[in-house]
Symmetry: D2
Subunit: 295 residues, 4 copies
């Protein structure tokens, strides 16, 4: 089997390696000619046997959009595009509608595992028809972790469902990280009692209720920098957390913990907090409480 | 009528003025001799006709504790102490038990109104017996706002109940301020749409559902410094908010909004967030997401 | 002056009364012929002197949309439509674009005050050009509360800004109500200490930091039904709260208290909580903790 | 080696089995004579070689308190008591002070793993002196999971530190469960998109960022009852979550996600919500919004 792979960054490059190791031929394209197998998408199409499978692994939004649009012009009826990036699930409908009149199939694949996927395999959540899933299964089997297929791969539903599941996966991930982080902050604040913060997290890796892969990563991070002296408490958020919260609002699903995780990230990026300025100003007004004045 | 008033700071001094205006004689004591009428508490006791009423208006905690302990040695059976400070309600039981064997009566009075109390009167929530309330009513009537007594004064229950009600009052106050502050931050973030943030708050003062005294204070603050350029988003918390939350936990009362307000204050006082460092470290571990490194 | 008023329900009917009291002629239209002055929108247009002002006061969404679309066919160049309903601010752009080619002006007006507006006047936040604002000012002056104009009326910005401000107003309102409600629940849970819950809220009406119009309404409600025995804890949400939260997400504004208020409403409407089922199932799995089994 | 084990319920009984399997003799005592090896604590003391080690595994609070008090009367200088229950960490100081004058040593051990501990071993977090830890190490090694000692056992600090770490562990656990639960609720609400909710969780078990032991348990639970039809969304909370939150408040540590998890449990146990009654009443007052009246 041979597939096209567009985007050879941190994720795409690792996926190429994993696919090749499983005996799947890969024609890779990247805007960086140094890592690209072909000059452009037309050359990629030409290099693949029809009917083609092309995996798109580029940043979500405009770039994914333009790649898929360009592919719609160089691929043929019967080809299959799989969007493995972090696209918003509603984008999948748009792309599916764009490709459908040309007879080009479209699937979405939520991919989890980060830089560890090369070694561990990638958790996969896909959306599309049963026929498409069957067709691309060798690719999924190459990318997913060892072990039973249904513990690292799921056909979630029609197109869009894979990214939807991945979106919720990331929302949960935000909540879990926030939970560990709050616990860390409390332990760290009680150093008079907790003489070994890193050792405590390390000891939670076996037997406890909170053991997880994220915990193992936290232990790695603490062992490398036990006081997080080298790290600023500044946290970006990719779109999935926000979209999860938007979906919660839309569907009247209470989401207090995951939203707390998202808001904590927003605050982490502020130099100063407008809302806390307002509260400080209010306290000063009614109580004459001193405010910290800026110079 | 004549009472003793201990603590002549921002609050106590205003209360003295309001009491005198109502024709109540005040013997004031403060550790600052420049504003004190008497040299010490013994002199205060000597200067008052028995049975005495003494209003304690000093910082909650150790100072209130030591003042009441000292009063227990200079007052006589039949005297009445009113703690008008922001004491924790459980302290009231302790003080009541200390004074009871000596026949000294004890009441607690939650006092709201801040620096505006001199002009507007103070909202009063008191705890004690009906007899004590009746005895001190001229004092309460002098301090409370104009208008019907039950719109600015309440006998909440036995000793401790006044401070309990004041504690919850402050918890609500935290939540309200947070609500205005979040709304402010959003309006402030949308200056492309909202051309007049101050004017918007100003226009909410009449007719709207959100009109309140706090809103009027926010308008005053915005008119003085429309961008809060002079104010740092750093907010202290006195004990009442925390105690309210502790009571919520103790009584299994969900308190998501008020707790959010308290946590926002905690964050506002941090130079950097340990929990957000942990989340940044985690993201770096699994995704290779860049962290902001500290120099 | 004479204006058209579409929608004579709870709000529209009161507004008609207030406008008439101020000497403004009103031609009212409602789908209910019993309260309507004219048979249809064409008749309404015919009954008004050109250039016309028409105030639309119908449910947001499809109904507002169809009324404005129909008006675009019966009004003429130079006429002015004011949408006073609770439309989403993004709808205003759509309506403005629909009307602009026909030379029909469009403004949005956020209106606060509920059923009390007839008596107290309505807080008004409007979006549009300065010229439109000036033209409609007699209408705004009739509807807004007594007192200085800028304490009950604001020209927030271009079209859409009025509904944006009203949306945030409602978000704040959600947060404030939640704060009072949490405080109420705690006081209510401590009846051994708090002997007079209603009296406590009543006493907060003067002098305190938490005094507000909402507090007065809460006192009215408690006086009518002190234990809320007649009321179920089931709370709908109109769109504004959700839109406020969506905007917070979009603009990276932390909104923990207002979101808590919205989530509490979501929970209030559930017969049982899927998420709490999941937590109960988890506890049962790891700890053998008994679950409450359904029959 | 031989130890005394007090409390032979779900946890204690499993621990006895695991200790025996490791070749450690166990003299067990329980109030239920059918499972007890000895008639009372005096008989337990008599049956053990001095200096003795006694592990207490009974419900936290009064029962632990009375067992330790009774042990203080039947044990001798040089004996060692280990409290393995879910005691509040501040209790440990009290017990240590009670035993110290008699020369009886005291350690606290936080134990995680639930009913799975028999098979998997128990995660252990202990507080005490290095000497005590060394002395009891064979017991810890028997109870902890296979693998490197420091991945299932930690000497956290002085007495109290073990229970402190366990308390925070449980707080984190609450937050993690809430995160999964919120994600579950959203997926469950979108069944039009998500055709296989159970399959989605199942597929997250390998390769993904959210994989964990709790996730595996959730999959087990979903496979047994995919719609949680047999489970009510009613969730108890043991003390540790509340204590974690109290400690956060005490130490000014923001804890929005873990607190959200705790509050969600509080709500889950209410027949109706007093706070939501208050909000419903308020909306009715200002907007004439219908309330759901109770019969």
């Amino acid at each position: 089997m041979e597939i096209g792979l567009i985007g050879l960054g941190k994720m795409g490059n690792n996926m190429r390696a994993r696919l090749k190791k499983a005996g799947i031929g890969v024609v890779g394209y990247d805007t960086n000619p140094a890592v690209s197998d072909v000059a452009d998408l037309a050359a990629l199409a030409a290099a693949l046997p029809a009917p083609r499978i092309v995996w798109v692994m580029v940043p979500a939004g405009k770039i994914t959009d333009s790649v898929i649009t360009e592919l719609s012009n160089v691929l043929d009826e019967g080809d299959l595009i799989i969007d493995g990036g972090n696209s918003k699930w509603t984008e999948d409908f748009k792309h599916s509608e764009l490709l459908s009149p040309k007879g080009i199939q479209f699937m979405d694949a939520g991919v989890s595992g980060g830089v560890w996927g090369l070694e561990n395999g990638y958790g996969l959540m896909v959306g599309g028809t049963a026929e498409m899933v069957e067709r691309a299964m060798p690719v999924f089997d190459a990318l997913r972790p060892e072990g039973p297929r249904d513990e690292g791969f799921v056909h979630v539903g029609e197109v869009g469902a894979g990214h939807y599941a991945k979106m919720v996966h990331n929302g949960i991930e935000y909540g879990m990280m926030q939970a560990y982080a709050e616990g860390y902050e409390l332990l760290d604040a009680k150093k008079d009692i907790i003489k070994d913060v890193t050792g405590t997290f390390k000891a939670w890796q076996r037997g406890t209720v909170v053991r997880s892969w994220l915990l193992e990563l936290l232990v790695r991070a603490l062992e490398a920098d036990p006081e997080f002296d080298q790290i600023e408490g500044y946290v970006e958020d990719s779109g999935e957390g926000r979209w999860t919260l938007e979906e919660a609002i839309e569907n009247a699903v209470p989401m207090p913990a995951i939203s707390a995780a998202i808001f904590a990230r927003f605050v982490s990026r502020q130099d100063d907090s407008p809302s806390m300025k307002a509260v400080a100003a209010l306290r000063n007004q009614f109580g004459g409480h001193a405010v910290k004045e800026l110079d």
